[in-house]
Amino acid sequence: MSSSDPALEALLQTAYRYAHALCGHAEMAEDLVHEGWLKVVAKHGHKPDKALLFRVVRNLFIDDVRHKTRFPSDSFDEQLLSDATGFEPSHYASYDLVLAQGLAELRRVDREILFLWVFEGYTAAEIAELTDQSRGTVLSQIHRAKGKLKNYLELHGSKKLTVVKRTGKQSL
């Protein structure tokens, strides 16, 4: 099954990137996609519906954040750590460390907006529908998020520092 459905694999990888943009954490992103996808399958079958899967993943993430806000834990295991604090080679073919750190500095809404706008190519209206905001708000958020990331990159060096997966080690 794993090699017989490339469309499904592509959908799951896209959902994983979106989940990562939301939470900034590789393992949590995997859990979000896992739970979200099984919910979609149980209710709608496994038709590749990206918009539906994105919405389910987003709702799960918001629920999780609310839960953690309501019931905070001091346990180290449950603390949300950004991937930017350490390179996890199982999740990256290559790694733009400065950009990853810049994204980690952004608010969750800024990361989400930039992912949808730049990587997924969503229109402002589509983002507005997914995030339940007005199109005008989305446009101003895009502008601000881009500006913040630009400032970070200018401040910390715009040169791309890449870690290549095959070495398995960070080489800056």
Binding site: M1, S2, D5, L8, E9, L12, Q13, Y16, R17, H20, A21, A29, E30, V33, H34, W37, L38, V41, A42, G45, H46, S90, H91, Y92, A93, S94, Y95, D96, L99, A100, L103, L114, F115, V118, F119, K146, L149, K150, L153, S158, K160
Partner: protein
Amino acid sequence: MNDQDQRLRDHYQNLTMSQEKLDQLLAATAAADAVITQQNKRQTMASAVRNFVAPGKQWASWVGVGLACGLILALSMGMYNSVADNKRTEHTLREVALNHTTRLEPEFRGSSLANLDNSMHQLPFALVLPKSITSEYELIGSRYCSLSGVLAAHVKMHDKKSGKPMSLFVASNADELEEIPPQQTILEGVEVQFWREGGLFFALAQRS
């Protein structure tokens, strides 16, 4: 496209779910698919069973509908008959009152009932006076008439005590008159009385 956007695209393009997790997820999807397929099969079977059983249910429901329609029809017919009988009674009352008030001349004259009976040989019954008429009367004559489509004898007489003219109607107790109940009614100033006696239908009319 600026350099920053390109770097963002590259960043997310290089970000992938681990193969181990992806395999787990695909296996879970296959398992969920199997469960859904089983559920669909069960639903299909259930649907097939329902369709198989449906004609029986349809028959039963049609029987129910038929019974309901029959009941409604019976009630309607009962109501119709009741209304029709009421109309027939009212119609006969009016016929009797009208025949009494119109001053139509008798076809046969005579003071003897036997003579009148002999004259009215088209009547399918023997013309007799009912026992219930106790007052003294004087016969004037008789004529043919009809009550609700039934041939009847209209016997004109005179009440010696009150001096008022009286009309006695006699008809065989035919189907058309069978449902008319015995009664005594005043209609437009005429007192009308219906009753049955000796297998005949009688009506008596006089000014009240």
